[in-house]
Structures are given as structure tokens and as C-alpha cells.
């Protein structure tokens, strides 16, 4: 019977689909069970499917025997056809449920056949990679247009195929039209039996947001360090404010004293002019001079004025430097007077180094303006300066009282502006030299360092300016960091 045969075929197709679905599911369930808590009843669904399938098989067998009795069972057959129709509907609805389940998984899912052909490319993959499934289905995975580290990923895919073991890879970077992204990948083989390898399933979680968040955190920590700088700046202002205030009060009081003496002198002058006796006046002037300690006042007033001017000068200087240092960072490179940036940074950070070191500068006055991001360059110099101060504090200890020396020099070197920051602190031990630029690598106690200074500096100098950072160090003798910034800004694209 045509209809029955046709029906049987369709059932078979459905069965085979279901069977494959089940394999995919098995892999999937292993991997995704945790991440997709919302589909907690999926196992129930799966069990139903298997049951359903068994029913279909059973029915098919029964049907075959029934068919042998031909016309006699025609009526029954008709009824059967109805039943099969229902079963078909049920099977396809189960299939749809599985499809829905699979497509609800919030992960990138790429299924690859054992010949390496892309068989599935889910909506998440479309969205994350900005590649439609129609563009890649049927394509060889090794040739797929995802812009990631092809050599490395392909190597992993091959190993997964040949060795039949699952692989995971964290922080896989990939490029797309506007922004770049980061993935965590799992590649698992689909094994039909323990020997029979039937393809691969690639699952990926897009962690771009997460990484961005971490970066923002780093930014916040940077701001925090500026907050700490603020406390130091306040201290640098409060100290001169104390003695300027004291001096002003002293000047006020001593002017009152001088005024009293001057009054007597006026009267003395009047008496002299009038030719009247002056002995009493002279005597009271002498008494008054003693009383107000005129010698002291006359000697000290110029000092008080001088020191007040110096104090105000100090306050002005730090306020001005602070203004320039924290100048709202433009996103574009501008010509920066590197020497001035260095002076400003030294000023705002004075409180961080002055208790442990002297800072000397040797700045090349012929330095042209260097194209760079002023805010970021300030941050880098600050990092270097504070690192140097910390290294010196570590070597000299807290209570020794003797200070170290930090020397900051600039120099024109061909096509580069060179900034060197040298200290005679503890130096950098051989074992950690390869790691100091790693994010979060620090040898400092909590609260003193977060291990981001050099990582940020590296990304600023090398990444954003196309320059270079190098260092040399001798343990116990100190360290020197050299920053090179290209004078011509030709680095944007690479």
C-alpha cells in the first residue's frame, strides 16, 4: 500500500532525525546542564521522546503482521493510519520541542560532521560572530570566516577529532566589524559508540562583557589611586597653610607692636620739632622696645614674609600641577610637552616620594612636542615614579632615615622621545622579570599595589602609542625603566 509505505518512510526519516537529535542532545546535556538551569525538565522531555520512539517501533512491527491479513483488516488499518498520523504529529512536535530547547541555549553552538562540515550554526553564533548560518552551513569548519586565531583553533579541532577528547580554551579573542570579542570555548567529540566518532560540537560563551567589566574595574582602581593622591596633595597644601597662617598672625601682632612704638616716635619727633624735653619719651621708647622685643621682631618679620611667600608659592605650584595633571584626558593625541608633564607629575606625587627619596631631573630642553594622550602619559609617569619610590622604601626601610634617589631624564633619540626613570631601590629579582608587566602581578602587600601599574603602562606606551618600554635592573642596586615614544604618530592602524 502506497500510503502505508509512504507513511513508513516518513516515520523512518523522523526516527533517524530523532536518533541524531538524541546524540547531539547527549553531548549537549553533558555540557550545558549547569549553564541552562531553566531547562530543568529537559530530561523528562528526552525520556518521553525515547518512549514515543519505542511506541512507534512497536506499532510498526504490529502493523506489518496486520498487513499480512490484508483486506480483512482494512477497517483496522484505516484506524491505524489515523493513529500513525497522530504519532507522527507527536514525534514532530517532540522534535520541535528539542529544536526549541536547543535554540534556547544561550551559548554559541556549532555542530561539525565527522568530515569537518558545519551542520549547525545557531542564532547565538550568528549574533556573536555576525555571520549568518546560511553563509557557513555546509562549509568546512577549517575554512570558516570567523576571525580568530585560526592556526590554534584548527589545531585544537584536529586534536579533538583524532583523539576524541573534549578541549576547553579560555579567553579566545576574535575580531568582528566594530568591536572585538572574547570567548570561552569547549570542543567536544560526538561519539555514537565508544569507537564511532560522528562529529564535533563546539560550544562557546561570549565573555566580552565580562572582560569589559573587569577593565572598568581596573579603571575604577586607577581612579582610587588618584583618590589616594588627593590625600597626599591635601597634606602638601595643609602644611604650608599652617605656617603661612601662623606667620600672618605673627605679622598682625607685631605690626600692632610696631605701631605702638611708631606712635611714640611720632611724639618724639613732635617734641624735637617743638624743642620740648624728650628724656621721658626716649625712656618710654626704650622700655617699649624691650617689652615688645623689637630686636626679635625686626629680625623675624622679613623671615616670616619670606617663608609665607614661599608657602604660598608651594601651594600655587601644586594646585597648578594638579590642574594640568588631571586635565580632562582627550581621546585624541595632542602635542605634549613631556618635560612639563614630568614636572607636574613629580609635583602632584610629592607626598608619595618625599619621605623616602629625592627626585632629580635631567630634562632635554630641546625636546619637541610629542604626539600622545596627555592623561595616559601622566598616568604612566606616575606609575613609574611611585614604583621607584616603593622600591626605595623597600630597600632603605622605614626607620633608617636615609633617602634614596630617583632620577628622571628625557632625551631625544632619533625618531623617539626617550624618558628614563632610574632609582637606587631594591631592584627586580631575576625570577620575576618576565612577569612584571602581567596584569595583577605584584609583590606588594594589599593596599599598596594591585599589580596593574606596569600592565596599564605597557598597553599605553606600546599599544596606544606604538612605543616601547624596557628596563634594566641589578638586585640591590636599583632599576631603570626607559620609555620610548615615537615622535611621528604613524601607529594608528597596526
Amino acid at each position: 500500500m502506497n500510503r502505508v509505505e509512504e507513511l513508513e518512510n516518513r516515520v523512518k526519516v523522523l526516527e533517524s532525525k530523532l536518533h541524531k537529535e538524541e546524540k547531539v542532545r547527549r553531548v549537549l546535556m553533558d555540557r550545558v546542564e549547569n549553564s541552562v538551569a531553566s531547562t530543568g525538565n529537559s530530561f523528562g522531555l528526552f525520556e518521553n521522546n525515547v518512549l514515543l520512539q519505542k511506541n512507534v517501533e512497536q506499532r510498526t512491527r504490529e502493523l506489518k503482521s496486520l498487513l499480512m491479513e490484508k483486506e480483512e483488516v482494512n477497517r483496522k488499518l484505516l484506524h491505524e493510519i489515523e493513529e500513525r498520523g497522530k504519532a507522527e504529529i507527536e514525534v514532530s512536535s517532540a522534535h520541535r520541542k528539542i529544536e526549541a530547547l536547543v535554540s534556547s541555549i544561550p551559548l554559541i553552538m556549532i555542530e561539525v560532521s565527522n568530515e569537518g562540515i558545519i551542520k549547525r550554526w545557531n542564532a547565538v553564533a550568528e549574533k556573536v560572530f555576525q555571520i549568518e548560518s546560511s553563509e557557513v552551513l555546509g562549509m568546512e569548519i577549517y575554512k570558516c570566516p570567523i576571525r580568530w586565531d585560526k592556526d590554534k583553533i584548527n589545531e585544537l579541532l584536529r586534536r579533538c577529532c583524532s583523539e576524541g577528547i573534549a578541549m576547553t580554551l579560555k579567553a579566545v579573542k576574535f575580531a568582528r566589524t566594530n568591536t572585538d570579542g572574547v570567548l570561552d570555548l569547549t570542543i567536544s567529540p560526538i561519539m555514537e559508540s565508544s569507537l564511532n566518532f560522528s562529529g564535533l560540537i563546539i560550544l562557546g560563551a561570549d565573555t566580552t562583557e565580562h572582560v569589559l567589566l573587569e577593565r572598568q574595574l581596573a579603571q575604577a582602581q586607577k581612579l582610587e589611586s588618584i583618590g589616594q593622591l588627593a590625600a597626599g596633595i591635601a597634606h602638601e597644601i595643609n602644611t604650608p597653610a599652617q605656617f603661612v597662617g601662623d606667620n600672618a598672625r605673627f605679622l598682625d601682632e607685631s605690626f600692632g607692636d610696631l605701631e605702638r612704638i611708631l606712635l611714640l616716635h611720632d611724639r618724639l619727633l613732635d617734641s624735637l620739632k617743638a624743642g620740648s624735653p624728650t628724656d621721658d619719651l626716649v625712656k618710654s621708647i626704650e622700655e617699649m622696645e624691650n617689652e615688645i622685643d623689637l630686636d626679635f621682631i625686626r629680625k623675624d618679620i622679613p623671615n616670616a614674609i619670606k617663608q609665607s611667600i614661599e608657602g604660598i608659592g608651594r601651594i600655587n605650584k601644586i594646585v597648578r600641577s594638579m590642574k594640568e595633571f588631571s586635565h580632562p584626558g582627550t581621546d585624541e593625541k595632542t602635542g605634549v610637552d613631556i618635560n612639563r608633564a614630568i614636572e607636574n607629575t613629580i609635583n602632584v606625587a610629592r607626598n608619595e616620594w618625599k619621605y623616602v627619596a629625592e627626585v632629580a631631573t635631567d630634562l632635554d630642553t630641546g625636546m619637541p612636542l610629542v604626539p600622545c594622550l596627555p592623561g595616559e602619559i601622566n598616568q604612566v609617569i606616575l606609575n613609574m615614579l611611585i614604583n621607584a619610590a616603593h622600591a626605595i622604601a623597600e630597600k632603605f626601610g622605614k626607620a633608617s632615615g636615609s633617602k634614596g634617589v630617583i632620577t628622571i631624564a628625557t632625551r631625544l633619540n632619533g625618531e623617539f622621545a626617550e624618558i628614563s626613570i632610574k632609582d637606587n631601590g631594591a631592584g627586580i629579582p631575576e625570577e620575576i622579570r618576565s612577569r612584571i608587566f602581567d596584569p595583577f602581578f605584584t609583590t606588594k602587600e594589599v593596599g599598596r599595589g594591585t599589580g596593574q601599574g606596569l600592565a596599564i603602562s605597557h598597553s599605553v606606551i606600546v599599544g596606544k602609542h606604538g612605543g616601547a618600554i624596557t628596563f634594566e635592573s641589578e638586585v640591590g642596586q636599583g632599576a631603570i625603566f626607559v620609555l620610548k615614544l615615537p615622535l611621528r604618530d604613524g601607529m594608528e592602524s597596526s
Binding site: I237, T239, F243
Partner: protein, 409 residues
């Protein structure tokens, strides 16, 4: 002649101080050092009453210097004059410091602070006692309350209100918290007399750092249980505080004086807590003398120690930077006539309140109430019965523990 040593790594700060304090040269002898090391050399050669030091200095910093001084010259009052604004740095210095002034500090305030410190020294002639008190960083708390506050602060959902409640139930904790709030330590320098308010001003983070990090509180160890219950002392203190405030209102004192009356009432017997904690043997002896000779506790204290719990408490509060009005009220709460100032003040209110609350004064053997009529008439009070009658309500409230500030026990 009082001796002061100023220490600052910035010579110009010292020059400025020298200039503004020059007029005090007749009463005060001032010396100057530019480093902790130099300061210690100077201190080794001569006795100083007060040390005023900067905080951040190269080599030995102010905190280290004060720690040395606390060990070597405990009677020297330790003051910090610093431009530091970093809270963490400030917290570090709390331990060894008596008083905190922040730069820029007006010369008049500095002078007044120094003058007050010297005045406090007059309260206690006994040098070895002064030494004992100068070493005190915190007063012991009831163990149960101490653990309660540690638990509250450690718990994830610790609340400021509950912390305030707990602190408000303990004399030692209240005294320390009020010191911090009323000094310029946190730039608050306010006139706060309620421990709960003080706690909410400081905030949970600071309290946490103070209690867990610096451990400004400590519990009595249960082995040396005090001669009489500290809990009763607290009830008496609270009742006295409430009544003193009420009396102050009726005497038409200024708002500051009313606050001071409460504060001084709360802390008036803190000297007893000091004695229990630091001189337990003397404590026992005093109780013995008092009961055998049937004389007031203050007299017994004079016989045994040569001074009273009033003066002892006042001395501590004085070097902790409490105001003169509070210090005097505490010092002379049993003998207002001895106070150099006999104008109507917080002392008057605290004196009257304490006399009325004498019944629940745990150390008081002599339960009859009598007043120093001479002092009262000098301060212009002639009808005390009337005054006390109008103020009787809080009196009763105080006994029940139901004071306005909702302190519970």
C-alpha cells in the same frame, strides 16, 4: 613653667609656631625638633609635659614616636598636629595619641588646647597615678556587651542602629566613642553627648575599623570581676545624666551646657571604672576603709590614694580632649566647692543630679542626701527643693531605665 616639645619635619612649620607662641614664652618653655630621633634625644634630657608632633615624617613617623613616648614617658601628654586627611592613616594613630589637631590649626585653638591640657595636670598632683592614666587607651567593657558588639559588627547584616544601642549600654565604649567624635580626629569636632548619635556620625565602616582593626574596646576578663557591678554603675550614670540634663534645662543653661550636663553626668563616675580596671587592690582597700570608718567614698579614696575618682576620671577626659566644662563637672561632682569656677554650670547640674541619684550609686555607703548649700547659694540657687521637685520626673524615669534617649538594659 610648663614644657612643650614640638616636632615637625618642616622647619618652617616650627618657625611659624615659634612666632605665634612667642607671647606665651613667659609661661611655657618650648623646644623644637625636626625628626623623631631628635625628639627622643631632647626628651631623654628633660621632662616635658606635652609633646606635639607631626604625623608623616621621614624615618620615624609621628605614630612611632608617640608609641616610644608612651612607653618611656607616659605622663607626657601626646598630641598630634597633622595635615593628614587620609582616614586610614588617621585610624592608625588613634592608639598612642591623646589629642588630635589638624593642620592648618588656628594659633588660638592650639593655645587654648595646650592651656587646657596644663589645667588638667593641676587636677592630679600624684605623678604615678597620672602615669597610669596617661597609658589608658580604652576602658574595659562588660564582657557580654563586648562580645555582642563584636558579633554585631562581624555579622553580614550588622546595623548601625544596633551598634549604637550596644555602645549606649556601656560606659567604657561610650566614653571612647564620644572622645573620638568630639575631637577633631575625623574633622567632626562637634558637640555630641549622645553615644548613639556619635555612632551614627562615625558610620559603620569607621566603627568596624576601630573595633576590629584597632581594638579600641576591650572586655573585662571575667576572672577579675569588679568589687561592685559595673552594670549598676551604668544604670546610675545614665540616670544621673538624664536628671542632670533636666536640671540644666530648668536652670536655663545654654544648649551647649545642657549637652555637657548630660555628657558629664554619663561619665562622672568613670574614675571608678578606671580604678576597677587599673588599680583593683586600691579599690578593695577603699571599700574597706569606707565601710569601717563609715565615711563617704571620696574621703576613703583620699585616704588611700590621695585623690578622688572624680579627679581621676576628669584627668583622663581632660587629656582625651573633652571640654573644660565636662572635665570640671566630672572632677568636682562630689565637692563642687573646690572648683575654681563657682558660676552656674554643667557642674551644678551634675552635682545635684548625682546627689539625688546617690541611692543607686553603687559605691555610696552614706545614703542620706545632703547638699553643699554654700556652693549652691554662690551659684545662685536657693530653692533646691523646688527645683528638684520639678525635675523629679526624669529622676524616676532614670531609675526605671526609661530615659529619653531610649537606652535599654
Amino acid at each position: 613653667m610648663r614644657r612643650i616639645l614640638f616636632v615637625d619635619d618642616e622647619p618652617m612649620v616650627l618657625d611659624g609656631l615659634r612666632r605665634t607662641l612667642r607671647t606665651m614664652g613667659k609661661e611655657w618653655q618650648m623646644e623644637y625638633a625636626t625628626s623623631g630621633r631628635e625628639a627622643l634625644e631632647i626628651l631623654a634630657a628633660r621632662v616635658f609635659d606635652v609633646l606635639v608632633t607631626d604625623m608623616r615624617m621621614p624615618g620615624m613617623d609621628g605614630c612611632q614616636l608617640l608609641n616610644h613616648v608612651r612607653e618611656l614617658y607616659p605622663h607626657t601628654v601626646r598630641i598630634i598636629l597633622s595635615g593628614q586627611s587620609d582616614k586610614e592613616e588617621l585610624l592608625k594613630s588613634i592608639e598612642p595619641v591623646h589629642l588630635y589637631l589638624s593642620k592648618p590649626c588656628d594659633a588660638e585653638i592650639l593655645k587654648a588646647t595646650l592651656a587646657r591640657t596644663f589645667a588638667v595636670r593641676h587636677l592630679l598632683e600624684n605623678d604615678s597615678l597620672a602615669e597610669v592614666i596617661s597609658k589608658i587607651q580604652s576602658l574595659p567593657s562588660l564582657p557580654s556587651l563586648y562580645y555582642e558588639i563584636i558579633d554585631e559588627i562581624r555579622s553580614a547584616d550588622g546595623s548601625l542602629a544596633r551598634v549604637g544601642d550596644i555602645i549606649s549600654k556601656d560606659l567604657g565604649m561610650s566614653a571612647k566613642i564620644l572622645q573620638l567624635v568630639n575631637s577633631s580626629f575625623f574633622g567632626l569636632a562637634t558637640h555630641i553627648s549622645s553615644p548613639a548619635k556619635a555612632v551614627s556620625l562615625l558610620g559603620l565602616e569607621t566603627i568596624k575599623a576601630l573595633v576590629l582593626g584597632i581594638k579600641i574596646f576591650s572586655g573585662f576578663s571575667s576572672s577579675d570581676l569588679p568589687c561592685y557591678s559595673i552594670a549598676t554603675l551604668w544604670d546610675h550614670s545614665l540616670a544621673t545624666a538624664c536628671l542632670a540634663r533636666e536640671i540644666a534645662r530648668h536652670l536655663n543653661l545654654t544648649q551647649d551646657e545642657i549637652e555637657d550636663s548630660f555628657l558629664a553626668g554619663l561619665l562622672h563616675d568613670i574614675g571608678k571604672l578606671i580604678l576597677l580596671d587599673r588599680l583593683p587592690e586600691a579599690c578593695g582597700k577603699i571599700a574597706e576603709v569606707a565601710s569601717s570608718t563609715e565615711c563617704p567614698v571620696s574621703q576613703a579614696e583620699k585616704k588611700v590614694l590621695g585623690t578622688t575618682h572624680g579627679r581621676i576620671g576628669a584627668y583622663l577626659l581632660g587629656i582625651w580632649g573633652f571640654s573644660e566644662s565636662v572635665v570640671n563637672a566630672v572632677a568636682f561632682h562630689h565637692c563642687p566647692g573646690e572648683c575654681p569656677n563657682d558660676a552656674l554650670s554643667a557642674l551644678t547640674a551634675v552635682y545635684l543630679a548625682n546627689q539625688c541619684q546617690g541611692k543607686n550609686d553603687p559605691g555610696n555607703i552614706n545614703k542620706t542626701v545632703n547638699f553643699d548649700l554654700d556652693y549652691l547659694s554662690k551659684s545662685g540657687i536657693d530653692r533646691i527643693e523646688e527645683l528638684l521637685l520639678t525635675c523629679s520626673d526624669p529622676c524616676r524615669l532614670g531609675e526605671n531605665g526609661g530615659c529619653e534617649d531610649s537606652f535599654r538594659r
